[in-house]
């Protein structure tokens, strides 16, 4: 079981609370987690990754285990603690502006 925490605006869109849980088959990576998230909550398609390129939107960041994983390759394995459900995979809106 994978735990994912969403920023407030995406919780509103998906009609969910702060944290959602997902089942991911195979390797637990950014791509497989986001694929599972979008499959369960299709209204989030395009809000985290670009529809076409599947690149992370510029002002969103991915964190887990106190590490910024935003620039990790999408198919790199996520930390074991995320894969086991011990730690949350955080999707965070970057602070932008003044």
């Amino acid at each position: 079981m994978i735990r994912v925490e969403l920023p407030q605006h995406l919780r509103t869109l998906a009609h969910v609370g702060r944290e959602v849980t997902l089942e991911v088959e195979g390797p637990v990576t950014q791509r497989s987690v986001l694929d599972a998230l979008e499959a369960l909550y299709p209204m989030l398609r395009g809000t985290i990754r670009d529809h076409d390129t599947l690149k992370r939107r510029a002002f969103l960041r991915f964190f887990a285990c106190e590490q910024d994983l935003s620039h990790e390759a999408p198919d790199s394995p996520l930390p074991e603690a995320v894969a086991s459900g011990k730690e949350v995979f955080l999707i965070i809106g970057a602070i932008a502006g003044g």
Binding site: H9, L13, P42, R45, G46
Partner: protein, 393 residues
């Protein structure tokens, strides 16, 4: 008794203002989509309960919202409100605006002109304007940034670009204005379903006479002294175009500077700024029963985006332009420095035509007597991006 429903898009959400035909007492609901930019909301002429909304964010991108009950509840098309989504392949693509790169247009639509004159890839940013079909609630057009027009025929679930517009020979010459390269105006001709007029900042106006397959620039008569060739075929910063549906061949335009008029559906334009104190501005609209009565809100200049002389004045011409009168009753006449953006004025169709506009200061003003007097419906919303009105039976 007739009612009106005013749809207000702001920098931080949408608001719906409703009143009876007297337009004196108002019920205000909102914010809907709190915290998001609502560039535009518009109701279907064929089904007033059907409303489309463009919800955008620099963080999360584009969302399309739809209401089927007059704005009480909303959902992203393809994702019914209140239903837990089922596992399986993603269904909703209502926010997927992908430029046509298939070569269907016969041309590779890859780049447009950037601010520095170099070529720049087309990049979807947001939907500026939604224009529901006049006859089919499930058909709706979207004007987007970077400038393109899309159409949905399934209630906003899926969008397809009408790529003949960007495929026009002049496409690579289009360049963004200060607010980005946006397609902000879409006008559907009620007398000719094949005719669509659009406007782009800063490319100009275009018209299709074949339902959106092919397009031609309609900028003859425009003079823009700030571009290399002031009478160029494209490159004009058209801010908005308005039409009275009863006389679709006559168009009125607020250009960056200059108020213009066309009596031949855009084939040629002539200036009708006349005695306006400044002819810079964004909004323009036409009285619903008097096709020669038009409204603008002059803005001081392109460097100072607020009203002239600290006075909020709507100017009305009852002669189709050139002769203008200031309408001030009920509007602040000192220390006022707001702007009124291009999609932030609308007219209802009640016997005594109602006029509505919203400001960058968060006020929405209404006139129930064609502009003779004004009252604020609300004073303290977030900055207003768009105002539309529905006249309901």
């Amino acid at each position: 008794m007739s009612r009106v429903r005013v749809l207000v898009g702001t920098r931080k959400g949408a608001f719906i203002l409703e009143s009876d035909g007297k337009r004196e007492k108002w019920d205000v609901s909102g914010p809907h989509f709190s915290g998001w930019e609502l560039y535009h909301l518009k109701g279907s002429p064929a089904d007033p309960n059907r409303i489309y909304a463009s919800q955008t964010s620099g963080w999360f991108g584009q969302i399309i919202q739809r209401s089927d009950d007059g704005g009480k509840t909303w959902h992203q098309p393809g994702t019914p409100a209140g239903q837990a989504p089922e596992p399986g392949p993603p269904k909703a693509v209502s926010n997927k605006f992908v430029y046509d790169a298939s070569g269907e247009s016969g041309k590779p639509l890859t780049t447009h002109q950037w601010y520095d004159g170099t070529q720049h890839p087309w990049e979807f940013k947001r939907v500026w304007h939604l224009e529901p079909s006049l006859s089919d609630p499930d058909t709706v057009y979207a004007g987007v940034e970077d400038a393109a027009i899309f159409r949905s025929t399934d209630g906003g679930e899926n969008w397809k670009e009408l790529s003949g517009l960007r495929g026009h020979d002049t496409g690579p010459k289009w360049q963004p204005g200060a607010g980005g390269m946006c397609l902000h105006t879409i006008i559907l001709d009620p007398s000719n379903p094949q005719r669509i007029v659009i406007a782009i900042s800063a490319a100009g106006a275009f018209r299709s006479d074949d339902g959106g397959k092919s397009w031609k620039p309609i900028n003859k008569g425009l003079y823009s002294k700030y571009i290399p060739n002031p009478t160029a075929e494209v490159g004009h910063c058209v801010h908005h175009i308005a039409m009275n549906p009863k006389r679709p061949g006559v168009l009125f335009m607020q250009k960056h500077w200059d108020v213009m008029r066309s009596d031949d559906a855009g084939d040629s334009w002539r200036e009708v700024s006349g005695n306006l104190p400044t002819d810079f501005g964004f909004v323009i609209d036409v009285h619903s029963h008097e096709p020669e009565t038009i409204y603008v809100v002059p803005i001081k200049s392109d460097g100072e985006h607020f009203v002239h002389e600290g006075k909020l004045r709507v100017y009305r011409s009852r002669t189709g332009g050139n002769e203008w009168e200031a309408l001030t009753k009920g509007l602040p006449q000192e220390n006022c420095y707001v702007n009124v953006l291009r999609d932030a004025m609308a007219v209802d169709t009640l016997d005594k035509c109602g006029i509505y506009f919203g400001t960058s200061g968060g006020q929405v003003y209404a006139s129930a007597d064609a502009g003779d007097s004004w009252n604020p419906i609300v004073r303290d919303l977030p900055a207003v991006l768009s105002v539309e009105v529905q006249t309901l039976a």
